[in-house]
C-alpha cells in the first residue's frame, strides 16, 4: 500500500498540470491583494457605510486578516474545481490513457488502488489548502499588517480581536481540507464510472453547482433537504469567524461531510471492484 501510494504521489507531482492549480491559487490571491492595495480603502468605506453611521471604527481595518477572509470567500468557490482536476482524473484519466489496464495486470488489489488514489488526492488537497493559507494569510499580513478583523454579515458585524484570530484561521483551513476531501471523494466516484478524464471534472462541478444553488435558495421545498446536502456544509468554515463560534453546527457539518466522504469512497470501491476494464 505504501509503495502504491508513493507511486501515485510521484505520478501526481511529476505531472506539470498538477502545478496549474497552485499557479491559479497564487494568481487569484495576488490579483485580490493588488486590487486591495490600490483601492482597498474605498472598498472598506463602501462595505462599512451603514456601520460607520452608528460606530466610530478606528485602527487598521484593511489588515491582512480581513484580506485573507475576502480571498477565502472568493477562492473556496473555485478550489473544488482545482481538486476535481486531480481527483476526477485519478481513475478516469488512467482509463483514458490506457494505463489502468496495465496497472491492473499487476498483482495489486483494486481496493488498494482506489485507496491509494484517494489518499494521494487527499494529500494534494492538503497541500493546496496549505499553499492557499501560505499565500493568502502570510502574504496578506506582510502587505497589509495586523489588526482586529471585521466580519461583515448580512444582518450583523462581528469584531474579532487580532489576538483571537490565528486559531480561527487554523480551524477554518482544517475544515476546508475536510470539505475539499469530500469533493475529492465525489470526483473519484465519478471517475470510477467514466473512461475519459474531463467527464468526472465537469460532472463534479455540475453536482457542486446544482447542489449549492439548492443549498442557497430560500424555497420551502429545498429547506427540507438542505441539511442533508453536503454543499450546505462545505461553507461551515465561516462559523469559526462568528462570535460565539457555533460549535454544534460546525460539528454537525463535520459529521455530514465525513459521512458523505465515506459514502462516496465506499460506493467507489464497491463499483470499481466489479467493473470490467474495457478501455
Amino acid at each position: 500500500m505504501i509503495q502504491l501510494l508513493r507511486i501515485e504521489l510521484y505520478k501526481i507531482f511529476k505531472r506539470p498540470r498538477t502545478y496549474i492549480s497552485f499557479g491559479i491559487v497564487t494568481a487569484i490571491t495576488f490579483v485580490i491583494q493588488l486590487a486591495m492595495l490600490s483601492d482597498g480603502n474605498s472598498f472598506v468605506n463602501f462595505a462599512l457605510q451603514g456601520v460607520n453611521e452608528q460606530f466610530d471604527i478606528r485602527g487598521n481595518i484593511l489588515n491582512g486578516y480581513l484580506i485573507t477572509y475576502i480571498i477565502l470567500q472568493s477562492l473556496l468557490i473555485h478550489i473544488p474545481l482545482l481538486v476535481a482536476l486531480v481527483a476526477g482524473d485519478s481513475l478516469a484519466g488512467e482509463a483514458n490513457s490506457g494505463t489502468l489496464r496495465l496497472l491492473l495486470t499487476k498483482p495489486i488489489s483494486r481496493l488498494k488502488l482506489v485507496m491509494a488514489k484517494f489518499i494521494s488526492s487527499f494529500i494534494y488537497t492538503v497541500l493546496l489548502i496549505m499553499w492557499l493559507a501560505g499565500v493568502a494569510l502570510v502574504l496578506s499580513l506582510v502587505l497589509f499588517g495586523k489588526g482586529d478583523m471585521i466580519n461583515l454579515k448580512s444582518d450583523a458585524f462581528v469584531m474579532i480581536l487580532q489576538d483571537d484570530i490565528m486559531w480561527r484561521y487554523g480551524a477554518a483551513f482544517l475544515f476546508a481540507v475536510l470539505a475539499m476531501t469530500t469533493i475529492a471523494a465525489l470526483s473519484i466516484l465519478l471517475s470510477a464510472f467514466a473512461d475519459n478524464a474531463i467527464g468526472p471534472v465537469i460532472s463534479t462541478m455540475g453536482v457542486v453547482v446544482v447542489l449549492t444553488i439548492m443549498s442557497n435558495l430560500e424555497l420551502p421545498i429545498f429547506n427540507v433537504i438542505k441539511p442533508y446536502l453536503f454543499t450546505t456544509h462545505i461553507i461551515g468554515w465561516k462559523g469559526f469567524f462568528d462570535d460565539p463560534v457555533p460549535y454544534a453546527a460546525i460539528t454537525r457539518s463535520v459529521v455530514v461531510l465525513v459521512l458523505y466522504t465515506v459514502g462516496f469512497l465506499g460506493t467507489t470501491v464497491l463499483y470499481f471492484n466489479k467493473k470490467d476494464i474495457k478501455s
Binding site: I7, K14, G98, R101, L103, T105, K106, P107
Partner: protein, 310 residues
C-alpha cells in the same frame, strides 16, 4: 507437469452480445501459443479475462494448477502482459515507467534486472527519454520489458506488432521467438495477422465469434495436401498445353509463362520435378509454403463454422 494455463468453458457476454462462448484451451510450458481470430473475434476479451481485467460470466482459469479466482494477486506475479497498445505515462521517462510497473509486480526488483531487460529489448541507452518521445516500436519494446521484468513464467501479448512498420514487426517477432528460445518463456501471443502468428507460434488457437474453431500444434493443423508449391521456370510458351494434358494440371492453382503454383503434398515434388525436366522445362527454383491463409479463411467461414466448432 501441469499445464501453465488451463482455460475451461470460459464465457462472457456484454448485454446481449456473447463475446466469448464456452472457450477451453490448454497451454504447456515453453510453448509460443498463437491466438488467432479476426477483429472482434473475442481475443482481447479472453486475454483480459486471463488477467482479471474482465470478469467471466462462467468458466474457470487455472495457472500452474491454481484457480485464478482463488489467488488472483499471487498468480498475477507469474504473468507479464501487454494488452493492446502499451500505453504508459507520456510525461515520465521510459526508466520511470519501467520502474513503476516493474515495482508493482515485484517490490524487490533490482536496478540490475531493469537494465538487463532493457538490454534484452534493445532499449538500453534510451531509458532516460520521455515515453511520449518513443517511436511505436520502442513503446512496444518497453511494454515487453515491463511484462518480463519480474521474470514471469507466462507472457500474454495482445497484438504486440500492432501499428508497427515492417522493420518494427520483424524486430518484435524476433524478440518473441528469442524470449521463448533463449529465456524459456511461455508466450500467448494474439494477432489478427495470420502471417505474423504463423512465423512465431508452435501451437495455435483460432477463435471465431467467441468460439473455438481450431486448436493444436501448427504442423498438425495443416493438411499436407493443401501445401502450395511454387515453381519458377524459364519462360515457356508450351507450358499451358503441357499442364492441361497431365495430372499436374488438376493440381495447378495458378500459372504464368514463368511460374506455376500447385496445391499438393510436398512428398510428390520429386515426381513433379522429373516431369518438368522430361518435358524440357527449365526449372529455376521450387519452394513450398503452407496455405495457412486458405485454412484460416476456410475454418472461420460462417457457413462452415457451425460444423467445425469444437
Amino acid at each position: 507437469m501441469k499445464p501453465i494455463l488451463e482455460v475451461n468453458a470460459l464465457t462472457k457476454s456484454f448485454k446481449t452480445f456473447k463475446a466469448v462462448d464456452n472457450l477451453s484451451f490448454t497451454i504447456q510450458h515453453g510453448e509460443v501459443y498463437g491466438f488467432l481470430g479476426q477483429n472482434g473475434a473475442g481475443k482481447s476479451t479472453t486475454m483480459r479475462m486471463l488477467l482479471g481485467l474482465i470478469f467471466p460470466d462462467s468458466g474457470t482459469i487455472s495457472i500452474n494448477g491454481y484457480e485464478f479466482n482463488n489467488g488472483r494477486r499471487h498468480l498475477l506475479k507469474s504473468i507479464g502482459a501487454i494488452i493492446e497498445r502499451p500505453d504508459m505515462y507520456g510525461y515520465l521517462s521510459g526508466w520511470d515507467n519501467l520502474k513503476i510497473f516493474a515495482t508493482l509486480s515485484d517490490s524487490k526488483i533490482t536496478k540490475d534486472r531493469l537494465y538487463e531487460v532493457l538490454e534484452i529489448v534493445g532499449l538500453k541507452g534510451r531509458e532516460k527519454d520521455k515515453f511520449k518521445a518513443y517511436s511505436q516500436g520502442m513503446k512496444q519494446r518497453l511494454g515487453i520489458a515491463i511484462a518480463m521484468a519480474h521474470n514471469p513464467d507466462l507472457l500474454i501479448l495482445d497484438e504486440p506488432t500492432n501499428g508497427l512498420d515492417p522493420q518494427g514487426i520483424a524486430e518484435i517477432r524476433a524478440l518473441i521467438v528469442s524470449l521463448s528460445r533463449d529465456h524459456g518463456k511461455t508466450i500467448l501471443v494474439s494477432s489478427h495477422l495470420l502471417h505474423e502468428v504463423e512465423q512465431m507460434a508452435t501451437s495455435m488457437l483460432i477463435i471465431h465469434k467467441g468460439k473455438k474453431v481450431s486448436d493444436g500444434r501448427l504442423s498438425d493443423l495443416m493438411n499436407p495436401d493443401e501445401t502450395l508449391i511454387e515453381v519458377n521456370i524459364r519462360p515457356n510458351n508450351d507450358l499451358a498445353q503441357l499442364l492441361s494434358g497431365s495430372v499436374w494440371g488438376q493440381l495447378t492453382v495458378s500459372q504464368t509463362e514463368e511460374q506455376i503454383v500447385l496445391k499438393m503434398n510436398p512428398k510428390i515434388v520429386p515426381e513433379l520435378n522429373r516431369w518438368l525436366v522430361d518435358n524440357r522445362i527449365d526449372v529455376l527454383s521450387i519452394s513450398s509454403r503452407h496455405s495457412f491463409e486458405a485454412y484460416f479463411l476456410n475454418i472461420t467461414n460462417d457457413t462452415t463454422t457451425a460444423n467445425r466448432a469444437i
